[in-house]
Point group: none
Chain length 207, copies 4
């Protein structure tokens, strides 16, 4: 019986690949790019070191890939939330909610984006910059639309978008660090939404 490929083997391989990637996300998220050794990753995934190189070309490529995938995932979640609502408050709430959901369901994902900062993988800088830029642009689009509808005060929407990105990151980072994260969750979302509305200069009664 000459070894059936693309049968169950295929699925098993994919499963292992995925398992290794998840292990890698965890290790990277916890230790950062440099401190995380390939040995850390394979021992987390409980495979031999050669297996790593069977699935991935090298540590840096994997990290970049993971970062990109992760960034795209979060970006998509937030973008989707912004696009599928029309009023600015609704957009803000949906986006914040989406971000918080991801942060709670996949904390490692968010951690990875945070550790993927300066001084990580040598070739990550541009990728990181692109990701931040896209995030900022998504927010700015929503702000511009609100501005046109005169729902928010006149302002430099680019800067407000930057501020929102930075502010939400910081708050979520602290939220995840907090021991009572789960209980604070709802309040935190409400706080962030109100804060965002204020920061954007939302005009409550457009009479």
């Amino acid at each position: 019986m000459p070894y059936r490929s693309t049968d169950k083997t295929r699925q098993k391989k994919d499963a292992k690949r995925t398992a290794m990637m998840q292990a890698a996300v965890r290790v990277f998220a916890q230790k950062g790019y440099h401190a995380a050794t390939v040995r850390d990753i394979v021992s987390e995934a409980d495979v031999a070191i050669g297996t790593f190189y069977f699935y991935f070309p090298d540590k840096e490529t994997l990290f970049n890939h993971l970062f990109e995938e992760t960034a795209a995932f979060l970006l998509q979640a937030i973008d989707q939330a912004l696009i599928s609502r029309s009023s600015f408050p609704a957009q803000l709430e949906a986006a914040v909610q989406a971000y918080v959901n991801v942060a709670f369901y996949e904390p490692a994902v968010v951690q990875l984006l945070l550790v993927g900062g300066m001084g990580s993988a040598p070739s990550l800088s541009e990728r990181r910059a692109e990701y931040r830029e896209k995030l900022i642009r998504a927010w700015q689009r929503a702000l511009n639309a609100a501005l046109e509808r005169q729902q928010i005060e006149p302002q430099n929407t680019r800067r407000t978008a930057e501020a929102l990105v930075g502010a939400l990151d910081e708050i979520i980072f602290h939220l995840l660090s907090s021991p009572q994260a789960e209980q604070e969750r709802t309040a935190a979302v409400r706080d962030m939404v109100q804060l965002g509305l204020r920061a954007a200069g939302y005009l409550y009664a457009p009479s």
Copy 2:
């Protein structure tokens, strides 16, 4: 200005030490903790590698020390600005101005604080957390005072403080990355102040 030994005398003796610390700040700020080698630092300072270990116990200790000193410096600048004013708008403007000034006069200081993120020196996490905490507390103090005076809307001042810290960092990071940083400077300060006032829910006419 940070890293000037203690005060005035023994300037000659510390000349080399100071040179190395400044070199280290530059190199760390540019490359991040891991990518910056001790060789990079000593060659930037134009001394031999042995000299490094005469003045400092090791790379990590130096980095932590530098981070702490640098963090204290920025913290002090912002704190001072917040303390020496009484109205919230004045505080905000002074603090933002102070931050921007430091960012322009000593960009490496700010860079260092940014690269000193997750996954830098293994033992930095707590130190970094402390620094951020202090920064947040400083802002929160100002917000609480304003809240008591009913100059800002009721809110969770802790979260607003976190947001301010994250927002300003993000904006200043982009400002420093911009090629026309110098020209945008004044406008950026104004934007940040207005943004801060809005985010804090500043009540314009407390009649």
Copy 3:
């Protein structure tokens, strides 16, 4: 032609084996022992890596085997040419012709013998030495016969034999490297024969 199992039957069974051996010769000849990986060989032969180890015990054994087979093949061709003629010039011409033929029909065979030099497979040294020794002995036999017949000048035939082996290898190597190898072929054979005759001190008119 080397590496055709034994003779005639079990052709089907050995088809894969043969394909792999031919692939191996090509790859070894092109890259040398160390640089040639088992993966290179199986991918050239279009089989899986496990198949390699079903047919051969390991890389080194295969290389040694191939070298031996290849050496025996060339040796036999040259030996045959030397034995089946009686006059020294005829022997020389036939042997050179045979060598050149092999070099053109099976360049990989010759390449393999050349790359199988020092520093190839750890255990190859003796085998290589044996092969060279046999080649030298074959030539020496012919020289001794000619010497007895007083067709060549008195000389240390061992050294002349060594010289012939080294000289022909070098010339054929350059010939194969040359882009116009095919055109030069006839002239090269003539040159080598004349050279051999001179080197052996062939006495033209033993009147």
Copy 4:
């Protein structure tokens, strides 16, 4: 006393460098490029592995350098012998003598050139080809001069030069392998010279 550089230190460093290079030549000569590990080299030189990389950028660069140096040395010895004589027999004798001398005083040098064959360092091919080419050209120059003076028979001097290079290498290789190398030395030189004269078709009595 702040460490006097360029004093004795300099000399010591150069001495060590040289010692390491000699150790490397020995190891490379014995094992070939691939089988020789950096660990082999440093243990032969009795230093730590880091020391290797303090003196040399990497294994391949060192090998190439060694090969080139070694090749230049032998080439120069032979070239010099060929140039400083006028009659072809004198040139031949001087060159052979020079080669044999090098082979006996610095056997590793010659070994290195021999192991530096195909399949050695990836980047060595061209260098090796250049070296062989120069050697061949040197012999061809001598042959051409002799041909002009009608001291040798008409012939393709390029091929004769290739033959001489290959023949001498082979003979010297066997000579070095022989246990009674030293005793055979003089006879071997005489044999090689006579062989060379015959191979070149030297015309004894140019009356």
